[in-house]
């Protein structure tokens, strides 16, 4: 090998051209391995996943832009090569952009194309998406039945988590429309569902969050508080849910202040302040993410 530092200067024009060509071909070929530059379906998935990341971090503007890009790519996919996954992705982007009617149609079309073996995950996501869009369009019973079915049958955790949230929210909304015994019955059923879920997977923070929300409707603020603390400690899927859970903790703190005897309150407050310190909150009612007033 020529170790002469002036070697570069000694390269002939042809050698330089070959090197340029080699580098250009290498660069060109490497493009095929980049995740963002493959087919439109892959691009749609990439932008969708990116949108989801932004959404989890509570960056609505960037999330909307990414979901719009995902939608454009998915529209291209179904126009050129219609497929169940193409329509599923189109529906998922539309669902996140809150275009309910279009989402419902896309998920319906996804099912009409059929899913192959190994695509059970896509089939369940499409079913969940269909139920969500129907619910947003004002249909009540069918979506609830779909959520219950998926909760019961699905072995996929992301599907179960989403179905659990949708099912619990729908049950709680229904309970709010009733009074007395009917309400109690609906809340008891919601509690049973969330308890079953957290018993099955104690390490899932989101199930504890759901349980805490149901206890709040039952005015059991001690248990609601415990559920919310567990949820915070185990982790929650998005920043928005984490903040909602923090506000639940603060709400329970205020309610318990009204409810507990002075001794009980003293004990509770001591324990509560330990958590506040651990979470690095600025005060008992000021989480770290809250703006200074």
């Amino acid at each position: 090998m020529n170790k002469n530092p002036l070697f570069k200067k000694e390269m002939t024009g042809v050698q330089r051209a070959h090197r340029t060509l080699f580098l250009a071909v290498l660069f060109f070929c490497s493009l095929f391995f980049l995740p963002a530059c493959s087919s439109h379906l892959k691009k749609a998935k990439f932008h969708y996943a990116q949108g989801q990341e932004y959404s989890r971090r509570y960056l609505a503007e960037d999330a909307t832009a990414s979901f719009k890009r995902a939608l454009r790519e998915a529209e291209f996919v179904v126009l050129r090569h219609p497929s169940s996954q193409g329509y599923m992705l189109k529906g998922m982007a539309e669902l996140n952009l809150k275009i309910w009617e279009e989402a419902e149609e896309s998920f319906r079309k996804a099912h009409s194309y059929g899913f192959e073996k190994g695509e059970e995950w896509a089939q369940q996501i499409s079913l969940l998406g269909l139920a969500s869009s129907l619910e947003e369009l004002g249909v009540e019973d069918a979506p609830l039945r779909i959520y219950a079915h998926l909760l019961d049958r699905s072995k996929l955790k992301p599907v179960t988590i989403m179905a659990a949230q949708k099912y619990t929210d729908a049950e709680l909304r229904k309970a709010l429309q009733h009074e007395g015994k009917e309400r109690e019955k609906l809340l008891a059923s919601a509690l049973k569902t969330t308890q079953k879920l957290s018993d099955k997977d104690l390490s899932c923070g989101f199930y504890h969050y759901l349980q805490s929300q149901v206890y709040s409707h039952l005015a059991d603020y001690k248990k609601s508080f415990e559920g919310a603390v567990m949820a915070r400690e185990l982790g929650l899927p998005t920043e928005e849910i984490l903040r909602d859970n923090d506000l639940q903790i603060i709400f329970c703190y205020r309610k318990l202040k009204e409810e507990l005897s002075s001794d009980e309150w003293g004990d509770f407050q001591t324990r509560y302040l330990v958590w506040v310190k651990k979470w690095e909150w600025r005060g008992p009612e000021t989480p770290d993410w809250k703006k200074e007033k």
Partner: protein
């Protein structure tokens, strides 16, 4: 049909490369050919890979809150309590819940997008205007958000060419066939350019 689409894609590939390497016409065929080689080789496994890449829907927060939680939200915010004093005194839960649905994400959860969008009205504690214009303002802002940030120049151009080639379902035609068409088109393009 396939040939004319291929022709079109190659033409735009050559036209793009002639801008990037105006004096290096000899690079066009090897570059485009290399792209085709990879596209042909990987088209099938590519599809398999894409179809097995799983994407999920994320759960939302629980929106159905008990009355006590809604009331606590109003009572714990001084300016808000003042603004909705009559509704709070009458315990008009229907109105309070409607207001809560719009203001809880802003004043409670401090959604960065919504807080910025209603910044001026928040400064003046004009909650009723925020609630009244909520759907319209948010809808307008979401419509105005433009997707941007694609990498400029070379990478974008090459990506476009690669995407066009992949969208032609290249696995349906043989490498030799495509290569022949490609060679002819590039040659024709260069001859036309020289003339």
């Amino acid at each position: 049909m396939m040939e004319s689409s291929l022709e079109k894609a190659v033409e735009s590939g050559v036209s793009f490369l002639s801008k990037v390497f105006p004096l290096k016409a000899y690079l066009y065929f090897p570059l485009l050919n290399a792209t085709l080689f990879w596209a042909l080789k990987r088209a099938k496994e590519w599809k398999k890979e894409i179809f097995s890449w799983k994407v999920w829907l994320d759960p939302d927060r629980i929106e159905a809150k008990p009355d006590e939680f809604v009331l606590d939200f109003f009572k714990s915010h001084t300016a808000l309590r003042k603004a909705y004093e009559p509704e709070l005194q009458e315990r008009d839960m229907e109105t309070l819940r409607e207001v809560f649905a719009r203001l809880y994400p802003i004043l409670g959860l401090e959604d960065p997008f919504l807080s910025a969008l209603f910044h001026e009205k928040l400064e003046s504690n004009d909650f009723r205007t925020i609630v009244r214009d909520f759907e319209k303002t948010v809808g307008q802002a979401k419509n105005d958000i433009e997707a941007c940030g694609d990498p400029p120049g070379l990478i974008r151009g090459l990506k476009t060419f690669a995407d066009e080639m992949l969208s032609l379902n290249l696995d349906l035609i043989s490498q030799d066939e495509v290569q022949t068409v490609l060679a002819e088109i590039v040659k024709k393009q260069l001859t036309d350019k020289d003339e």
